[in-house]
Amino acid sequence: MLPVLATILAGFAVTFNFFHAASVGPNALPLLTSFIVIPILSAFMILAAPVQWTRWISLFMASMELGIGFKVFFIFQTAVGGFQFVEEVPWLKNFGINYILGVDGMSALMVLLVACVYFAGSLISWNITLRMKEYFILFSLLVGGVAGAYESLDLFFFFLFYEFAVLPMYLLVGIWGTGRKEYAAMKLTLMLLAGSAFMLVGFIAMYFTSGVHTFDIRILGDLAKTGFNTDFQKFWFPLLFLGFGVISAVFPFHTWSPDGYGSAPTAASMLHAGVLKSLGGYSIIRVALPAMPDGAKFWLPLLVTLSLINMLYAAIVALKQKDFKYVIAYSSVSHCGAILFGICTLQVAGLNGAIIQTFSHGIVAAMTFALVGTVYGKAHTRELIKLGGLAAVMPILGGLFVAAAMANVGLPGLSGFVGEFLIFLGAYKSGYHGGFTIFQTLFPIAILAIVMTAIYYLRLVQMVFYGPLKDPHYKDEVRDGTFIEILPIAFLLVVSLVVGLYPKPFVDMSNATIAPLIEHIRGFK
């Protein structure tokens, strides 16, 4: 217990203080690059170091990452807005590729999210024994990829990092997974990459159509008026939306998600559900919307319908699942639907809601998966019929799970509420101001989803933790969570609480991105 805490504090302090002096100002230390490098570096260190150090290295590096995450969050000047800590290195001039990193409000939040989940994940994986080294290496690489994807402002590197993150997932699921792991792994990988195939072509098409031959997102975003004519936008927006949508499991391309998460090892599903999945909505806001507002508006009816189906349909399907983890997986699909819905509102409130919901979903889904993994590790089964009454033997985990469930349900005071509330506000608003009136009829349906969520989560709580203890063996075999198991979950819970209780700083940050974006979009038909 003490050494663990010491390691965490040490790692955290190192980065958090190291960057303190230099990280603000024009020629700053490469804050963002180091955010990508640290996980990758840790992969190499683990590769080199003796096996018994593995966990400690990973934990230490994760804490360093956490330090940077918080640093970015704290020293980001919301008032100034725009992209900050930008690092720009020319890469391939004649192909218009530059290594550009930078965070605005939205991605600053995402950076924090990545850091938190990485930290929690490396704690949750503490008891991995099978092929431990490889596990932690792949895990760190996964994080590196995600971190890069959230920071890059160049489509080439965005894409590179994104798929870089998909790859370790295949092995993580395939090797350390459970159930039909190889099937799930293959499905996940192929579906995600198939989606990204459209992305790549779309990016390159943007590159050439824009006329300025650059992959710089910031520039491409401003070209919406001059660079891309309406037909181009109408043709490419849906394809990009598809590519991004597959990442965030948009119906009907969501089926990789239940199988994938169902069989992935805990930490992997935490990262994937919490962070990588959120990339979908993120990139729509970052790339597709600014560059192709007309396309967005043209396709809105379809997209809204899809996202609504996501929300409700997934929630309904979750109601009938027999596997503990599948319920969570479907609920995560449903929440991503909410995110897409928020984006489709094309309203300040709605988009802010989408971002906050992205962040919250990241934290909460990670927490929930962590809980499921821990419970599974103790009860050795995930079939809901076999579980029951576990609260008697694991009260702390039970309590935490109720908290997690409430966060998912969108209970005020926890992060889930803020996002959903803002999304609904946006939904209503975009109906009220004569904009896109389909919402006025749709948003009651959307709100219906929160009831469904409540139903299936409480059903879960009841079936797993409440009622009499199903299996008498649990009485003496199963113990409550240990410190190492509780720590990451509690950590995530605290983050969710903070967002829920005082969302102002977070919303301000996301709004630093959204307000200009909306101004930008409003100029279009």
Partner: protein
């Protein structure tokens, strides 16, 4: 004092955190922390009351706000609103919670999770106070949801009991259904008025309706959306089903949450947003009739129940219906007044019931009887409460209930006469079933001797709250003695107008109540009539009542058929069509095409040559023609 009012919700929250994090091990410490915080809150509330009373009626409204989240130009605040209404609620909530917490010390004695119990109580009180003190729609919704959570936790406190597990889920979900409407209302308000603040919204509405920016129907729609929430939380028909089941929780919890405070939140909310309702009479009518119907409906069910707590639960429903009705007919003051008095005597009833259960370890009234001698204090206090709820002069219920009846009688809404008679009849039923309960439990011969022998009076930690509440149940009503009217001068909506107390109506209702008491005495005390015989004669009606009009069964059937039916359809679709069909299907097709094409690799060299030649030929033809 008022500047510290924000402490009132915060302190219990802190107590919750402290207990959960640090003092779970030590029961005594946890209990003390919780109780002391509650005492402090009560003290603060009293202080605030005094301060507010000192002010002139005009400037008794103080509102303080802090920004919670901003999306320019639009801001959501968290704030404190001190006005007579909230002060009234503050006192009720803090007082009852304090008493209940003291009471729980004895009642939950020996419970393993004593500490968590107290932590939940603190959390509940804190969220309830958040709700009460809120000065905007968003915050009231937040508190609203949080009390829902606490009620979930406390109903399911004995989670290992399957009934409890079911009940808490039911309570939460049913409330969510109501909250859907509430949330829509809140969002609509936020977006239409660009603010959540009560006062500003009120202003905009009044001006907007005056100059015709909003047509009344729209406002009425919003009001009714909000009312959905009230229907859920105050367990009005058709969302009343959760409250009786909620009795699976510990009895003090039922007293605090499901009788005195939380369920009254619905009433409070309607009162808080009253100006929205007043805009359009139709909205008021809907409210009034739902209240009235619930009152009668629940009372009739209570006639045929056997579980002591469920009887009380249905009586709670019915009384809440009264309050809602009162608000619906414009009896703002009377409604809130009844809320206050009801809080006292209903809490008393539940705590008394709790002490009985504590004595006989049983909830079926037909296993009790003759407890008068065994547990005197309990019985004495219980009878006071019973008289109070029956509305007997000069106890609290008399004054508040008559105020309501008067309000109904004098109101302008269509069909108020019907409502009036329904209300009167409800009063009669109330008197009847309450005394049925009293007689069966406390008088006559013991039915279950084993239980009876072990029965004993409860420890003083439990009896003292009973006595305090008894005194209140007698005296609170006097706040509104005709001519004195302290309460109605304090809590009113809009302009204060004198209400002349209508004595004839009061006597009438009193007679009705007494008639009810006598009738139940004939049945259950002197046993002139036989209850069994009557039940036999009117079997269909009896069964209907006993089975609560089969509402639960109906809902159960609906959920099973529709929700889960839909769920199975969707799941099937997802597994077979989307997953196996589309996703795996495309993979399968690709693989099949692969093996199909690889058949072309025959291995015969001349086929390959032929293909080469053919390709050249075909290409040439294609290009040249």
């Amino acid at each position: 004092m008022i500047e510290y009012s924000w402490l009132i919700p915060t302190m219990p929250a802190l107590a919750y955190a402290v207990i959960i994090l640090f003092t779970r091990r030590s029961k005594v410490l946890s209990g003390l922390i919780s109780i002391l915080t509650m005492a402090a809150c009560l003290g603060l509330s009293v202080g605030i009351l005094i301060e507010v009373l000192a002010k002139a009626p005009a400037d008794r409204v103080i509102s303080i706000s802090w920004s919670w989240l901003e999306i320019p130009p639009w801001t959501a605040h968290v704030g404190v609103l001190i006005d007579p209404l909230s002060v009234n609620m503050l006192l009720v909530v803090t007082l009852i919670s304090l008493l209940v917490q003291i009471y729980s010390w004895g009642y939950m004695h020996g419970e393993v999770r004593f500490s968590s119990y107290y932590s939940y109580l603190s959390l509940f009180t804190s969220s309830m106070l958040l709700l009460v003190l809120s000065n905007n729609f968003l915050q009231i919704f937040v508190g609203w949801e949080l009390v829902g959570l606490c009620s979930y936790l406390l109903i399911g406190f004995w989670y290992f009991k399957p009934e409890a597990a079911d009940a808490c889920k039911k309570a939460f979900v049913v409330n969510r259904v109501g909250d859907m409407g509430f949330l829509m209302g809140v969002i609509t308000i936020g977006m239409v008025f660009q603010t959540f603040d009560f006062a500003e919204v009120e202003k905009m509405v009044s001006t907007g309706v005056a100059n015709g920016t909003f047509q009344t129907g729209f406002i009425a729609g919003i009001a009714l959306l909000l009312f959905c929430g009230a229907v859920g939380k105050s367990a009005q028909f058709p969302l009343h089903v959760w409250l009786p089941d909620a009795m699976e929780g510990p009895t003090p919890v039922s007293a605090l949450i499901h009788a005195a405070t939380m369920v009254a939140a619905g009433v409070f909310m309607v009162a808080r947003t009253y100006s929205l309702f007043l805009v359009d009479q139709h909205a008021m009518t809907v409210v009034a009739f739902i209240g009235g119907f619930t009152a009668l409906f629940a009372a009739s069910i209570a006639l045929a129940q056997d579980d002591i707590k469920r009887i009380l639960a249905y009586s709670t429903l019915s009384q809440l219906g009264y309050m809602i009705m009162a608000l619906g007919v414009g009896g703002y003051t009377s409604g809130m007044f009844h809320l206050t008095t009801h809080a006292c005597f209903k809490a008393l009833l539940f705590l008394g019931a709790g002490s009985v259960i504590h004595g006989v370890h049983n909830q079926d009234i037909w296993k009790m009887g003759g407890l008068w001698k065994k547990m005197g204090i309990t019985a004495a206090t219980f009878v006071i409460a019973t008289l109070a709820i029956a509305g007997i002069f000069p106890l609290a219920g008399f004054w508040s209930k008559d105020a309501i009846l008067a309000a109904v009688y004098e109101s302008q809404i269509p069909g108020h006469i019907v409502l009036y008679f329904a209300a009167v009849f409800t009063a009669f039923l109330t008197a009847f079933y309450m005394f049925r309960l009293f007689f069966v439990v406390f008088t006559g011969e013991p039915r279950d001797h084993h239980a009876h022998d072990h029965a004993h009076e409860s420890p003083f930690t439990m009896t003292i709250p009973l006595m305090i509440l008894a005194i209140l149940s007698i005296s609170v009503g006097w706040l509104n003695l005709p001519g004195f009217d302290a309460y109605s001068k304090f809590v009113y909506h809009g302009e204060f107008h004198e209400e002349v107390f209508n004595w004839t109506m009061a006597w009438a209702s009193l007679l009705v109540a007494i008639a009810g008491i006598i009738l139940s005495a004939l049945f259950y005390y002197w046993k002139v009539f036989s209850a069994e015989k009557t039940a036999e004669t009117f079997k269909p009606i009896y069964l209907l009542l006993k089975n609560k009009y089969y509402v639960d069964e109906f809902y159960g059937w609906m959920v099973k058929k529709f929700v889960f039916g839909l769920a199975s359809i969707c799941t099937w679709f997802d597994d077979n069509v989307v997953d196996d069909g589309m996703v795996d299907g495309s993979g399968w097709i690709t693989r099949k095409m692969g093996s199909l094409f690889s058949l072309t690799q025959t291995g015969y060299v001349q086929n390959y040559a032929l293909v080469i030649f053919g390709a050249v030929a075909v290409i040439y033809l294609m290009v040249s023609f």
